[in-house]
């Protein structure tokens, strides 16, 4: 694939994923189910008396993270931490 086409393709894919993230944030997932299943996956028991507040906090996280999910990042942008062996 010629370089310019590859760059264009990469941008399309990046854009597609960014739009996908926005769509997830806007589609209001079933947070109760998400919390229950994710907790099972990591072996974290959530007692019934804590569950509602965990769900509430997860919903707040979905709202707070929205500005980050809306940002498009170029592929060469690697994470900030620098590991020095």
């Amino acid at each position: 694939m010629p370089l310019l086409r590859l760059i264009g393709f990469t941008r399309e894919v990046t854009c597609h994923f960014a739009q996908g993230e926005k769509a997830v944030a806007e589609n209001k997932p079933d947070v109760g189910k998400l919390v229950d299943e994710a907790a099972k996956a990591i072996g974290l028991p959530i007692a019934p008396e804590y569950r509602d507040d965990v769900i509430l906090n997860y919903q707040r996280s979905l709202a707070i993270v929205a500005p980050l999910l809306a940002v498009d990042l170029d592929d060469p942008l690697t994470p900030a931490p620098v590991y020095r062996p």
């Binding site: 907790a39 990591i42 974290l44 996280s61 980050l68 990042l73 942008l77």
Partner: protein, 463 residues
Amino acid sequence: MSDPVSADATASEIARAVAGGTVKATAVVDAALARIAASEPKVNAFTDIVADRARKRAAAVDAGGTHGPLAGVPFAVKNLFDIAGLSTRAGSKINNDLPAAERDAALVRRLEAAGAILVGGLNMGEYAYDFTGENAHYGPSRNPHDPTRMTGGSSGGSGAAVASGEVPLALGSDTNGSIRVPSALCGLFGLKPTYGRLSRAGSFPFVDAFDHLGPLARSAEDLALAFDAMQGPDPDDPVCTTRAAIPTLPLLHEGVGALRIGIAGDYFMQGAEPEALAVVEIAARALSAATEPVILPDAAAARAAAYVITAIEGAQLHLPRLKSRPQDFDPDTRERFMAGALLPGSWYVKAQRFRRRYREAVLKLFDDVDVILAPATPCSAPKLGQKMMTIGGVELPVRASLGMFTQPISFIGLPVAVAPMMHPGPMPYGVQIIAKPFNEQAVLRVAHWLQQQGIATADRGKL
């Protein structure tokens, strides 16, 4: 000049008096311990008092065993700092089961090497995941300007102890604003140094990517005095810089004429009470700041990214305890930690990738300015127990919103001083004074100048 044994004495005044032989360190420490005993029922700043240790150390200072720039200055530390012989609570009940620390945290050792005298450990929000100063296990620290109000957190005890005059100097930690929020709400000067500038060895962690330690005091000079005593490399903290110390005290009185000063615009001019923005304007006018605002690009995304990294790193740290002892967590942190443990990994990586871009963009701003001013909090101290607040007609959760202006700055590790401003009315506000990495000298010079001009004032709460 205050009486060095009084509640109004600053650390600098005490150190000068002790060094000059006009007062004994033992008298200073005894007076501090007496104030603590009298004030604690009202402010609840301390969880641990090490009176015997403090008196022994004061006697040693008086006997000429220790000389230094902080000779005889009583201080206290947020209880996530190791204190030899005590379990490091980090605001929790669970950590009380840990073995006692074998030695003091690095910064405690450095302050004591400079002659200061530790008098105790201070209350804090559980595991530092807090902006309020409330704690279900030990009770809330109370604001000395109005004990029905929050100190801010998570270094709430540090704010209460200094603002009440129990001690002139305290250490806190700041991951997302935990030094700057209580400094603003309690009316104190506070310094969150550059990420990696001060050693974190011997302190209980929260979010390695953002954890900072620093001082709170009633003068900018005291911040500089303490900061200079604590600087320097430390192989025990892998993040601590190997750069040589850059003393700030010698240049503190240089004034601000040579500094280019701007105001943070856009994100930092919205979503706050008018008074919180007005104090920034007052400081900016006095400093002849540029009228064109400085725009930190994507600051809202920076706050979101800081939130995500905090939630996920903090939850991962505590996951074993969340599984084994959930009932022993403070209810105000437990469900937030649990939710953080379940957030998508892709959010975390995106937040880290974004951090690099944001850092590069913000550092470019310092080509044109040396210092940027911004509000410290969106409001003055909320009432204890208050869960929601309304700003500009929008209802917001108190706990998450108090750090909205501090998070985008600590996210990239910039040095920040808070200058306290008494707006007409009983409760203080704070101004963040922000500079490029390792330019603590600039932020402290500005804070000191504002205090010298009477614009920033750290009045003691009159309980």
